[in-house]
Amino acid sequence: MSEQGPALVYRLEMRDVVKTFPGVKALNHAQLKLRPGTVHALVGENGAGKSTLMKCMFGIYKMDAGEIYYEGRKVTIADPLMALNLGIAMVHQELQPIPERSVAENIYVGRYPMKKLLGFIPVVDHEAMYRNTAALLKEVSMSFDPKQKLGTLSVSQMQSVEIAKAVSADCKVLILDEPTSSLTSHEVEALFRIIESLKAKGVAIVYISHKMDEILRISDEVTIMRDGQYIGTWPAGELTINKIITQMVGRELANLYPPRHNVPSEPVFEVRDFTSINPRSFRGVSFNLRKGEILGVGGLVGAQRTELMEGLFGIRAHSKGSIYHLGEEIRITRPQDAIRKSIALLTEDRRATGIFGVLSVADNVSIASLDQYLQFRVMLNDKKIAQLVKDNVEKLSIKTPSGKTLIQSLSGGNQQKVLISRWLANDPQILILDEPTRGIDVGAKYEIYCIIAELAAQGKSIIMISSEMGELIGMSDRILVMCDGRLTGFVQGQDATQENIMALATQFS
């Protein structure tokens, strides 16, 4: 107990936090100092390490190095339960509700109010649970039934439940990770009122958001992160939107992207009135794509961009709309259909829908193009496959000890290159790249940009979803913007600015 932190200016301090995932250094000596009774905004581009830092604080991830001081005392937070016991609560970016259980049970899961039946059998005190829940919901200005199944609520209502849950834990530190990404402006105001009242009670609040106006309005201090590193902490009053963005990006945008020599020509792909079977997802989307064009796709989280692309690729079903390839209507109901029409999709979540972790680089490269390597109709030609792997490793400068290495031991950037070569092996004419540089180190990002530029110069058509403004503006010939499942407009690459894209991306909110 001799290890005392500095004087109790801070409720919680994180010092020199390091966290490495296979292939990428997510946090590199990150810092955070929270004062009681303040809102502390944590900002940075996607992949800057904000959520990772918070997951370290909340005990979801184990830090490789670094220290956490809570009220001046050095603590080790091994799991979320420990964090909760200390008084740290977190509203996750991706909600983790149990839709088949009631609102009340979702709020009290893991810490149900108990009573003794017949004086000795411990049972859940449902009465107390429902009563407390009703009071809590009132506090966050929500008026639904505590017994209602959580799954029947809208996303924003579920978000409110999550916040009510955090409030109910009587926390001293509250982490809000993108709490407004799916809220209406009315609901945002309600949230801000809750934040103010928590502040008055002395709670230290971490507020992660991409919305600059919100940050400047609600926060007292701002910590900026970039590529897993701590850039600095400023009083919110000293900052402007421009100052924050400059610190977030940290370098001249002009040098970040390679020169492009592609010349968009005639349209090769057209989508008309494309509508999901899910009424909350994409609807009425029409656009075309030119040969040799890089079409950026912008929008906020939840704009249904990924869903749209997965719909076009046959992973998700659509109820209405048509797709034309070289002027001819095509039907795509499953990925094989799309692949046959020379379309490739590099998915957003590399781990979940991209790599085969336990398989070799060679298997990962060749899996989508095995048809080409059959001899005598059944046997695969190992020599040709080895050649394909060798060619791609050289062409995309994939750093791997050999083709037999398991892909999970490569860095994120190299895994991404392996996935790109998987699709290039099919010689696709249309490549849909969903967040192609997510979770990749800065150096590798530039290499991916070069590959994209080169592919477009060869006359391939690229659709690139990106949540990084710089990347969208720096790489696209044209930017399609979506908001709430609908296409809200196009911006030409040379005219694109953060502001005009954001205006389209928030059209319905």
């Binding site: 990925p335 829908t353 060749s366 899996i367 048809d371 998987r422």
Partner: protein, 337 residues
């Protein structure tokens, strides 16, 4: 990246890792050696012949189940399907002069024809398993557990729960026959051929690559254009065909069949696969590993027998080994996270 000075300790630690990864194999082999030294008739020809034919039959089943395991599924109907196949084979290949013949006036059928027939019957069962798993998305554990009971029921109804004996000499001779040396029994040769064919299928064909990909990451496989449903159908169907072959051989070996034949073979097969490095987390598993796993599991059974452990107790030991094997496999996966 590795400096030469570090190379040696690394290969030593590599050896240590290999040993700890295969702790069950190492343990059982040590046990066998000890038993071999203690019991002088352990290293006898008869014992080896017995070991080889037991291993051969169980290897065929295990190879079938391995495809299901590699794609993160399982097949608990394996033993009962083999049992049904054994019963049908025995019924159709009874001696014509046998008084209690199941079909009194059945002409002598060609053995190969009967084999083909039971394989087709089993293929149909496998297709149902595959369809339920792949298209109705019933968890394989439940789907095949249901099929296990269902097939047992069919077998009971069909045979009337009567044991079937007095097999034709040419059929029973399949089990006793051999080429050159008694070690190279027909059963062993068939198992080797199956092993080679399956090795080819797993390593040299599209189907094999798709199978490993589905096990490695089913969603990614779907995105990469793999027809996951079709692949799974093929896997479960092929597995059942192998159980069919196994049941056919089993009846010949036993000189008859009964409804309880093949019971709980699926568990031994899963044990053999897991001990041999097939991961229940999917995407990993080799034919050679399965052979080692099955062989080692058979060695364990024989060693216990020679030690004079009562059958009741051997079940307990086998259960412990199976759970341990899967637990160790899962730990390997967890430590990677």
């Amino acid at each position: 990246m590795q400096s030469p000075a570090e190379a040696k300790p690394r290969s030593l630690s590599q050896l240590g890792k290999t040993l700890s990864d295969n702790v069950i194999i190492v343990g059982i082999v040590l046990l066998t050696v000890v038993v071999g030294v203690l019991r002088n008739n352990f290293f006898s020809e008869a014992n080896f012949r017995n070991l080889i034919s037991n291993t051969a039959i169980r290897f065929i089943i295990a190879v079938g189940v391995s495809g299901c395991l590699i794609t993160k599924g399982t097949d608990l109907s394996a033993g009962r399907v083999a049992g049904l196949s054994a019963c049908i084979s025995a019924i159709l290949l009874q001696r014509s002069d046998y008084i209690n013949r199941f079909y009194k006036d059945l002409p002598d059928l060609p053995i190969i024809g009967v084999l083909a027939l039971v394989m087709v019957v089993c293929a149909v069962i496998g297709c149902v398993n595959g369809a339920v798993v792949a298209y109705l998305k019933v968890p394989p554990f439940i789907a095949t557990l249901g099929m296990q009971t269902l097939v047992y029921g069919i077998c009971l109804v069909y045979t009337g729960a009567q044991p079937i004996g007095s097999l034709r000499a040419d059929y029973a001779g399949l089990a006793t026959g051999y080429v050159g040396t008694p070690m190279a029994s027909y059963t062993a040769i068939i198992a080797v051929v199956i092993g080679l064919l399956m090795w080819f299928l797993y390593n040299k064909t599209r189907h094999g690559k798709y199978m490993y990909a589905i096990g490695g990451n089913e969603n990614a496989a779907e995105v990469a254009g793999v027809n996951v449903g079709k692949s799974k159908m093929t896997i479960y169907m092929l597995a059942a065909v192998l159980y069919g072959l196994c049941g056919f051989l089993l009846a010949a070996k036993s000189g008859g069949a009964s409804v309880n034949m093949g019971m709980s073979y699926e568990l031994e097969a899963i044990a053999g696969c897991t001990i041999g490095g097939v991961s229940v987390n999917g995407g990993v598993g080799k034919i050679s590993g399965i052979l080692v796993g099955v062989l080692v599991f058979e060695l364990l059974k024989i060693a216990l027998q020679f030690l004079g452990v009562k059958t009741e107790y051997t079940y307990i030991v086998q259960g412990v080994v199976i759970i341990t094997a899967v637990a160790l496999d899962i730990q390997k996966y967890l430590s990677k996270k």
